[in-house]
């Protein structure tokens, strides 16, 4: 069964079954890698912020560069009003990035390759952004669905399209990340399987493909985390600075 390209996405229980009421919240391999990713983030950034030297050490530089990278990303896309949400977007970016990156290590589990995980994150962002929008602008936030400068004849159609696109945000956000991670890992597994099935004579071609794909997947892992964070910033920007 190990060679099935989808078995790498299987969730299995580690330890005993834990139930709260009717809900099964057992500790699984997915939970393990969520905790591993979070711990890695906390350890790296704790080490990077512990000692403040005028000339930063490597780990401090890493932490500070990440900080300025995310803070610049937020100020570029959502402006200065998004400052209170910096910590959330920073955690989100780092969590997704580390989950993606840990998934690149062989025999690990990729947390973000599960639609339920990405969907929960995306739905939380969607609901949060909507609430922020309504708090900041009241019912004026509904103006988001009415773009200015559109002929009145087209307006009903545009409004419907805008509403559909707004409601599909959590789906597009979650499916983008989940599908990218799943497709990449499946493809790598398939090529890995080809290496073994073609053996020592013909296996070199899929092996070189696999190597190239690994590089590509590391890029994708970073890029998808970046895209996830930057789309969150853009949605936040819509809620904070109503431009329509």
């Amino acid at each position: 069964m190990a060679a099935n390209p989808m078995t790498q996405f299987e969730v299995y229980r580690i330890g005993p079954e834990i139930k709260i009421g009717p809900f099964d919240i057992s500790f699984t391999n997915a939970s393990l890698f969520m905790i591993v990713s979070s711990l890695a983030i906390l350890i790296i950034f704790n080490l990077g912020s512990k000692k403040n030297s005028m000339i930063p050490s490597k780990i401090q530089l890493l932490a500070e560069l990440s900080y300025t990278f995310v803070s610049k990303m937020i100020s570029d896309t959502a402006g200065s009003k998004a400052k209170p949400y910096f910590a959330f977007i920073f955690s989100l970016f780092m969590f997704v990035l580390f989950c993606n990156m840990f998934g690149m290590i062989p025999y690990t589990f990729t947390v973000t390759s599960h639609i339920i995980v990405t969907f929960v994150l995306a739905a939380f962002i969607f609901i949060g952004v909507t609430i922020i929008g309504f708090i900041k602008h009241g019912f004026g936030y509904l103006k988001l669905f009415v773009p200015s400068g559109v002929p009145i004849v087209l307006l009903p159609l545009i409004v419907i399209i805008e509403i559909i696109s707004y409601l599909s945000r959590p789906i597009s956000l979650s499916v983008r990340l989940f599908a990218n991670m799943m497709a990449g890992h499946t493809m790598m597994k398939v090529f890995g399987g080809f290496v073994i099935s073609l053996g020592i004579v013909g296996g070199w071609l899929p092996l070189s493909f696999s190597v190239a794909l690994t590089g590509l997947e590391i890029l994708v892992a970073f890029l998808q985390a970046y895209v996830f964070a930057i789309l969150t910033c853009i949605y936040l920007n819509d809620a904070l600075n109503l431009h329509h």
Partner: protein, 196 residues
């Protein structure tokens, strides 16, 4: 049959090939809702803790570190600016002193030159005056001599001639007659002696 087994051994796919392509049975584990609740719970739990620790403990520290470094660099830049300004003002002062001393030197040179010229002129003037005076005196003397010379000569001539005549003749001769003769002669020769 032996040949196929041999080929399989070479390509190592006797055992694996069945399993590689036996994937279609399971479908996507992601769509199996068995562990959805567990994943939601653990995601909320870990992400919540991650968010809390990052936002309350770690990010403020990083931000403070960055601010501190920024302010320190700013301070250093300001100190450097101040020192540069100081050195510039010192340089300006130095330049001023040099230009002032140059001006002073010029002034002193000019003054001494003027003074020397004045002195020279003064001395020249006094010398000129003195010379003129001397010249005038000399002229007056000459003139007076000129005036008195004929008379004296006449007198000497009269005296000597009277002496000579006395010696020659042994008698006193009237001086007035001799002087008349001498006057007559001297008048005749005056032009010859003094008009040059």
């Amino acid at each position: 049959m032996d040949k196929k087994y041999f080929i399989n051994l070479i390509f190592l796919n006797l055992f694996f090939s069945k399993e590689v392509f036996a994937a279609e049975s399971g479908g996507m584990p992601q769509l199996d809702p068995e562990f959805w609740i567990s994943q939601i719970f653990w995601l909320t739990f870990t992400f919540g803790i991650l968010y809390l620790v990052l936002s309350k403990l770690i990010l403020p520290k990083i931000s403070a570190n960055l601010e501190l470094r920024k302010s320190q660099i700013q301070e250093n830049i300001e100190a450097a600016d101040k020192q540069r300004e100081d050195s510039e003002s010192k340089l300006r002062e130095y330049d001023e002193i040099i230009s002032k001393s140059k001006l002073d030197a010029k002034k002193i040179f000019k003054e001494t030159r003027e003074k020397a010229l004045k002195d020279i002129n003064l001395k020249k003037d006094t010398l000129d005056e003195q010379i003129n005076e001397e010249l005038k005196k000399a002229e007056i003397e000459i003139n007076s001599l000129k005036k008195t010379a004929p008379e004296k000569i006449n007198k000497i001539a009269i005296e000597t001639s009277s002496e000579i005549l006395k010696n020659l003749m042994g008698t006193e001769i009237n001086n007035s007659s001799i002087s008349a003769i001498v006057d007559d002669l001297s008048k005749k020769n005056e032009r010859k002696y003094y008009d040059n």
